[in-house]
Symmetry: C2
Subunit: 320 residues, 2 copies
């Protein structure tokens, strides 16, 4: 799937995002940083796939636009607060809100953005609203759980691979699952009919994050825009790290004796020695296949639709 094909949903989404922004709202101390952050851009993958799923399931774009906006605002809220928790000074190359406007602004802007995600959710077709609200709440709660696990892992010396998969499922994948499910719900599909789409997004989200970790370690800097090894320097316990620790006995303490560039070189070298580039891609493809398998449970109206398969290929094939 080309980037261009995405434009069918990206362009109307960006238009709606702009039409419903909070620029100029008062008090400015609250809304100016929110507008700044919402304009930092992003791939808009979740709302795009929500709108695409809605169309596949028979809805118009406008029927699902509230859900798409809710998901994108929620995602951005989570970034604002995660950046506080991770003490990250930059997001998409620009200062984070707490860095630019102070801690209190970071906290309050995030809160307001979370509330705004529910404002958009409330614009969904009212017959679907009770189910949508429950499912959105579930995803939102699980994203919090995932963030907590991520922080817990920072404090632990040993993390198991299955724990890592569960963490990224919660922190990243359930929202992609909800994005697809919400599209179907907005089209009037039942909870049960929409479930395979949730599962598709969830498993694809896991695959997506594993690919993301792969790109962080082995991606082409000219395409990713980042120097390889960021996760190693941030001491993240990715699947790559967990396997290297388990199979080669590498420890964070050992890396502490090295400077940054040596630390990256040693870690990535070890990852390669253990064949982890190929093995982690195998793991990503395993979850991609689980995602595709769940499509067989879809009613004939939407599946087997080439869209979902192309979307999966796109997410796993990307080099950026």
């Amino acid at each position: 799937m080309s980037e261009l094909k995405f434009d069918r949903w990206r362009l109307p989404f960006e238009e709606a995002l702009m039409a419903h922004n909070l620029a100029g709202f008062s008090p400015a101390g609250l809304y100016e940083p929110i507008d700044y952050f919402m304009n930092l851009g992003g791939k808009r993958l979740r709302p795009i796939v929500c709108l695409a799923a809605a169309e596949q399931c028979g809805a118009s774009l406008s029927q699902a636009m509230g859900a798409a906006l809710a998901i994108e605002w929620f995602h951005n809220f989570s970034l604002v607060h995660d950046d506080i928790m991770d003490r990250a000074p930059l997001r998409r190359g620009k200062p984070t809100i707490h860095e630019r406007n102070g801690l209190a602004a970071g906290v309050l802007c995030g809160d307001r953005m979370l509330v705004q995600s529910y404002v958009f959710l409330a614009q969904c077709p009212s017959s679907a609203l009770p189910v949508l609200l429950n499912r959105f709440n579930q995803a939102a709660a699980e994203v919090c759980d995932g963030q907590q696990l991520d922080m817990d892992f920072e404090q632990r010396s040993l993390v198991e691979a299955h724990e890592y998969i569960e963490m990224i499922r919660l922190k990243t994948a359930v929202l992609l699952g909800f994005a697809l499910e919400a599209g179907a719900l907005c089209a009037g599909w039942s909870n049960q009919q929409s479930a395979p789409l949730y599962r598709f997004g969830e498993q694809l989200g896991i695959a997506f994050q594993i690919k993301d970790d792969w790109l962080d370690a082995f991606g082409d800097p000219s395409q990713t825009g980042k120097q390889p090894g960021g996760d190693v320097l941030a001491r993240k316990k990715t699947w790559l790290w967990i396997q290297a620790q388990k199979e080669a006995g590498i420890t964070l303490a050992e890396l502490d004796t090295l400077d940054d560039s040596e630390r990256v070189k040693r870690s990535l070298g070890l990852f390669r020695d253990l064949d982890l580039p190929a093995r982690s891609m195998d793991l990503a493809l395993f979850h991609k296949q689980k995602a595709l398998d769940s499509l067989s449970l879809l009613s004939k109206t939407a599946g087997p639709s080439p869209f979902f398969i192309e979307f999966a290929d796109y997410l796993l094939g990307r080099e950026f």
Copy 2:
């Protein structure tokens, strides 16, 4: 209205709060501090008045319990995050979450509590859900606006009385308004039928906060449990301060030369010289009257109900 009379709603509410707590949920790093905070107690005024309003409007307690829980969880979320923004080490005499478990826990626990408030809201009668969600979102957004104004005022040397009233309306009063309105909506009342109850709660909430400020300055420490003058020491621009600054030209800079006890003595003395104890109570009673006036717009089913009048008397009469 006696405290005892409140027990009719307080006891079932406390029971529901306990039955639906998140104690023992995993990951513990997220849910243990939440449970700690939810057990710090509180007057539970908002959920009590929500349940009472629901009964007045013809609903059973169980029909409105989801809304009551949503409002109490939302209120507690706002306390957790406000305490971060205000750098407050204590809440109800116990360590705040960010003090006890760190900044990241304070941020994430608050987020999860906000999400939980929507989980409870989703349990309301589904026919009322679209309106309830819109109204709750509006109140939640306005509470954020009010918190921002409160922080803005800290940075300003001059604040007008009407600006202060608008700030407390947003930060405190709209949630009390929603509590009453939500009770009516859960009873199947329309948006329009419920509006006078919102207005009643909103104006009563303003009166309540002015009385709160009065108690902080002139309350009996043996009843309030606090040393008088906390707001003066925290340099809060309450209505008392704003009037004293306007009429007697007192400035924060002038107070900076004094030690804490002298600062309190000088400020409270000035408040008394300007007859502000009586005048601020007059202002509170003015808003109480506006609250009561709005009851005349209620349909005969609920008004003129002695409950609402007694509740107003109770809130303004309290000495704690």
